[in-house]
Subunit: 285 residues, 4 copies
């Protein structure tokens, strides 16, 4: 583990080994993918629960009546959470050298600290340590929102996030094409409607970027009802666009659905399908 081991005394060596064993234990305890003892599960469950409670707290804090009454509790909980997450962060950085990949005490740790997962962890606690005095209300709110970064800490614990990533990767091309079609439709629909409706409703269809609000609301079929065509030709155009266009917006869903279907089928059939009678492999279409 360390290259200097041979040059130290036996006593020191023993202490060093105990130290390394502890580091390894801590690493296994914090990393959800390695190890499998009950203590692992307990530690992970506690962290996941704390993250979820944090999200709940950030949400509920914004309810003014709750904040006025329980403000102290919210602040104390925040303090406690940041403390726990900071300790977790430091322990992770300290114990990461147990991993082959990050063995080197300095360079290994640097590479570990700059890995995506650890950057998310850092972003989840950093805002708390910034000097917050002299900031206006809006910036303070933004900082509070950044605490939502803690949400992404969950990705480490979720098997699902890996499946989702793989499905998106496998359907990359289809998704890109459908996004392209969607963007094209939005721009074209907006420019057409701007031309048609601008004279009738100069305040709502005031410019093409403004009209895009209408075209998004229509093509996604949200239809808030704050902007809609009033002229005959505008209505006819809207009818044509929405009949043709709605398919495009439902495309990604269809593509993703088949992606998930295939991903899970792959997992099931991964364990080689054999004829139960003659034992030969059978390759399904």
């Amino acid at each position: 583990m360390s290259i200097t081991i041979s040059s130290i005394t036996a006593a020191k060596r023993k202490r060093h080994t105990t130290y390394n064993r502890l580091k390894k234990q801590v690493h296994l305890l914090l990393d959800p993918s390695d190890g499998g003892t009950i203590w692992d599960k307990v530690v992970n469950s506690v962290i996941v629960a704390l993250i979820l409670l944090n999200l709940l707290a950030v949400c509920l804090e914004t309810v003014e009546s709750l904040y006025r009454e329980y403000g102290v509790w919210f602040r104390n909980f925040e303090l406690f959470s940041v403390l726990v997450f900071s300790v977790e962060y430091l322990l992770r950085v300290w114990s990461c050298t147990s991993m082959r990949k990050y063995r080197h005490p300095v360079r290994g740790r640097l590479r570990y600290v700059t890995s995506p997962g650890m950057l998310v962890d850092l972003a989840a606690i950093l805002p708390f340590y910034l000097p917050l005095s002299g900031l206006d209300l809006r910036s303070l709110r933004l900082l509070r929102m950044i605490r939502f970064m803690r949400f992404f800490k969950l990705a480490r614990f979720l098997n699902a996030s890996r499946v989702i990533r793989r499905v998106f990767a496998s359907k990359r091309n289809e998704l890109l094409i459908s996004m392209l079609m969607v963007l094209t439709l939005i721009i074209l629909a907006a420019s057409l409607m701007y031309f048609v409706e601008h004279d009738a409703q100069p305040d709502k269809f005031s410019s093409i970027p403004e009209t895009m609000w209408w075209s998004v609301a229509t093509l996604t079929t949200v239809g808030y009802g704050d902007v809609y065509p009033v002229t005959g030709i505008g209505k006819t155009l809207t009818a044509c666009i929405s009949i043709l266009g709605i398919g495009m917006f439902a495309l990604p869903a269809g593509i993703l659905a088949s992606g998930f279907s295939e991903e899970f089928k792959k997992r099931e059939t991964a364990s080689a399908t054999c004829c139960p009678h003659c034992g030969k492999e059978i390759h399904h279409g």
Copy 2:
């Protein structure tokens, strides 16, 4: 059937056998999965019809003009229904010992009574027998609503409910993941929009939980139009979120559709699939 049979006289035994045969008949008559005589169908049809009429009655009762005029009829019909369902319930409990599984007169009946189907049946008649005096109007309405439990009595008679359950079970993982994505999207969209629109519309985007109402209405594309962004950045954000997010909400539909497709295909091909090498039949999951 009974352990005490050998200790009773022949006359008693004969009476006992007649009694058991009757019990068996009653059981077969009430259980839609066993037996197949015309009388079975008649009894089942009558019960199904009564359930459907009950649902109709509960719905129509809430129409004030109808209730004022035909109130007596509604109450009488309710009385009649509860009577029939109670008799049905008691007969079921009495005759359940004809089934192997619930043979024991006490323990068997207890286990039978606590099975999900029987609990639904009980919940469908119980509210009627509770002392209703001294309850406020709202609780009374709640009790009336509980009569909707009778709806779930239908599950017993429907082949479809088994298919639905199997499709949901086979697509459990996909559905869970898509639900997770949906929830994530709702929370993130709400917190972003709260931050962006709170200053412009403090009454509508008053807190993150409140903003979730907007994010559900938008991402499901319902778009009532009671809450929508008015600032430029809010609209831009909404456009991005809805273009990216709508796919997520349509995912479960796609997943379920392919689930049904596979379920029915499985049933069709259940009959014959052979190994191309040895010609013997292979039973796929």
Copy 3:
């Protein structure tokens, strides 16, 4: 074709044969599935065009400004159309005895006249011949609407209507189940929301049948915005219902899409797929 042929003179027989040949010609001319000469196509195209023009006329007639100005033209066109359709109807009835199935001059014709296609044809012209005096405005409008029956005359000419029917037939079970789920959802959602929102908005959620209007508008994601929950619990419930329920409403689309996919694939592969090298048949999954 007729049993009395042998008993008539040669001259008569010749006339009769000419008559029968003419009848056959007329039949082939009017039936889009038999025959394939250019005249067939011309006659069919003219009838299809006339049907489409009729639909257009019925639609445009309702535009008051157009009707006030061109009323005479609309009435004349209607007169002309009914004339053509009546002649077509009579010629069909007269010539149907050329078909094996309807050979008998009386019973054959009766069976032919009561076939679904011919009933549609009759319904498309009959209202015109009814004594219209003494009818109020609303009934008159209804009669005018019945002219839309002419639309279904098109089914005879469309290959697509057969494909659609076959897809619906093959997916009958899936569609039935999803319809059942949809209806269940509508009723349950309505009764829950009635209970929750009735006190806050007694005019909009006045009864369960009335609340179904909200539940349909929400679950189909139409969301007109005329009815929506205002209480916190109502909004939460709506969120849950719409997240869970939207999948159900998109199910039929997914089912039908896969139905069309399979139908067209079946047609393509119907012509036996063989290995181009060894000539043996290959059965794809």
Copy 4:
């Protein structure tokens, strides 16, 4: 390349060859499908960027506040773009004779100029050269909009546009049928609702064509909320129509999704599929 080569002097011939080589170079530089040097990529990237900037400019120009302030810049950028596109157009026309297909200096160029891609290119610059004086504001705006033709210049550079075209071609029949069902539904729903709601809301359901606006807004689930039924029978009818009809409108999306799925699967498996009997490769459609 030219028939007159043999009759000119060697010096002239040399000059001519240089000229032809240059033409070839220019052609390769401008055509994204031929050639593959770094300069190709640079030139293509510059043109694509210029097109995208043009689209952005057309959109932003319509924002009055921006146009008032940066009007000169917009006009200068337009001037610059038209110049570049004109030079590109002329160079294309000049160098097209390097291609086998368009070798003839006059007839080849004529055929090249009338190819769809070149017509789009022409339409993208032509409006600028028309005498614009004496036109009213609306026509001027239309001419500005025509600049959106530049968008379609992108098709030349996109691999995706070919995939999209192939998917639409392969699913032509399904899409046509679903469009037919959609149109049928719109017309029938509109005529039914016109009949039912006309008396209650004569201003909103004033005629069948007017009511089609409602039926499109409902069946696409956009539901702006500007038109909705108010009578009981109208609401019931709307519920039935939308439950049955929504599947139809989601059909094209499902069809296209499976189309893209198949297209990309085809590409993956294009490499190797063998007959299980003789082992030779089989090329599927």
